[in-house]
Symmetry: C2
């Protein structure tokens, strides 16, 4: 079997009539039913973060994962954020919310993370737990050959699809979008950002209903000279420009937080694999940027051109996963700088 | 159409092979897709609560409901709780989480409820919001003639079913139970109850994953002498005994909180309509009591006997609605006594 959820549509689909994509794309399905998907981000943060502190954090989190209810998959990344702080980030994926809840309750993580001792270290810590019912997520991969993100979990199956190649395809891939426009209860404009005295404090920010998390990535470890050069010299600068626009135009774009992350090895070396984690006030805000803003159209056009040029011989893999939140636990920030993640929207 | 969700089963159903119920029962379906169901309880509480204070509270909450994003239905009830405090309770139902979130953000309710002024009144207030994806709920009604609880919302359709008349039928009616055993991450035993100094304070208690809320009711407004007498003299005492057992045996039963409520008119008069709101650590705990404890078997046997005796001429309507929680917002208690609801399990 290939598990998926489909609702009888009451909200019009965005697929144009008779649309057939120029090139197939791939999406994640499951061999057994999966009703909840979880991506849980754990991070250490400091103005300067020597490798030994990063390594100690990664080793610690990994030791907590070595538990019967630990995650199904995880990755290690690094990010210099918009305040020029270094963040080392572990993202972990679970497919079972009861296991995830038991891990939170019974692993040694909580005792360490919740301790008041965390407030007086020379580093900050944050945790952003993205947990959604299956019908609130979608995935797309340019190739089926490299399982990444949620697709690293055992039991997945990367399958071809044709819900791609038009504006609105991401929405159409989210099962719930068939019966809910997934609007933000806050409307069009994000709440004003506040400068909160966050250092030395533990603060929580509640993600609003339908906040939309996207992790969008690139993997070019196996790209040979021509395509690697094209990626690094022509596509990557466009990506950087697009991300910079969102970072600098949060209110106009509805992008509340954005981080550009680089996967690293256990020895701390950056590899040819990057991704961006961004939160938009709603899926509509993400769509508006991607459909109408020059910085994204520029990325989109180049990606399509390279698709045409290299076809099945493409060596740079691009992908994303989108989660539309509901009933999320608060994101938590411990001794972090005030621009971290959703902290500026903390009550 | 009749909207419903069915998953390919990986957890065995509890229906015995070839089971056919002796009598049909009824359940709630929807004419258009409904992906989330919400029952939101608002209450005022005091040792003695004169009608003018109850009325002022009900009028106030109803005035907040008169908002474009207000609830689809609501009821007014009264309860004397296990600490002998009076509680006047408004339960409101929504079918759209975005409307519910907008109501919370933009009606005048939050400004009033969140105000520090609430801490220094002579009464307490509490709010318990039960919000679950559709696949985490089930309903049963003995008759289709009196829409009650969630079924008061427009767009519902009370339809006959045969998933009833055996132990485990409630579980089988919850769509998600086909692919998840719905266990508590906390295991078999509830956390220890604590006596928290709650008066004059605003406290929040986080419902754990898979906490199971049941509202189980009786409506005998239209019962004539014979059946009314049977209900009041023979069934009601068994119900009272069963509820008392749960109230006095929380740790053994896994029932964390239980309230016996009586519907009232706008003038404060009690009518022939009651219901019990209870929270069990998990659906399995609720099942264990109902399948094996003498106090429930006694209720069950009497209900079946009266079914046989009166058949289609039954004049006492019984029903329930069950919600298995995930991603719930914390329940909130303002200046309440320490045994209120989930307050004894507050962190």
């Amino acid at each position: 079997m290939s598990f998926h959820i489909v609702y009888p549509r009451t909200v019009p689909e965005r697929r144009p009539p008779n649309h057939q994509p120029a090139a197939p794309r791939w999406t994640l399905r499951w061999k057994a039913p999966v009703h909840t998907v979880i991506s849980d981000y754990f991070a250490v943060q400091a103005k300067t973060l020597p490798w030994n502190l990063q390594q100690a954090f990664v080793d610690r989190i990994r030791s907590y994962f070595a538990h019967t209810d630990g995650p199904d998959a995880h990755e290690i990344m690094r990010c210099t954020d918009e305040s020029e702080f270094a963040n080392t980030i572990v993202v972990a994926y679970w497919l079972d919310p009861t296991k995830h809840a038991r891990w939170k309750l019974f692993s040694s993580f909580a005792g360490w993370f919740d301790s008041a001792d965390r407030l007086s270290e020379n580093v900050g810590y944050w945790r952003e737990t993205v947990i959604v019912p299956y019908d609130r997520h979608e995935t797309i991969y340019s190739e089926p050959t490299y399982p990444i993100g949620l697709a690293r979990c055992a039991g997945g199956s990367v399958e071809p699809m044709t819900t791609n190649g038009y504006f609105g395809a991401a929405r159409d891939r989210i099962p719930l979008s068939a019966i809910d426009p997934l609007e933000s209860p806050l409307g069009e404009t994000p709440p004003p950002r506040k400068e909160i005295a966050s250092e030395g404090r533990r603060l929580r920010a509640q993600p609003p209903l339908n906040l939309t998390a996207i992790r969008s990535g690139q993997f070019w470890v196996n790209a040979k000279t021509e395509q690697r050069t094209d990626y690094l010299e022509r596509l990557q600068p466009k990506l950087v420009r697009g991300m910079k626009y969102l970072e600098e135009n949060k209110e106009a774009s509805g992008c509340l937080s954005i981080r550009n992350m680089n996967n690293i090895t256990s020895a701390g070396e950056e590899i040819a694999e990057t991704s961006t984690l961004a939160y938009f006030l709603s899926l509509g805000h993400l769509e508006r940027w991607s459909e109408s803003h020059e910085t994204h159209l520029d990325i989109y056009r180049h990606a399509i051109a390279m698709n045409r040029k290299f076809g099945a011989a493409r060596e740079v893999i691009t992908w994303h996963e989108v989660f539309v939140l509901s009933g999320a636990a608060p994101f938590e920030y411990v001794n972090c700088h005030p621009s971290t993640g959703l902290l500026p929207y903390c009550d």
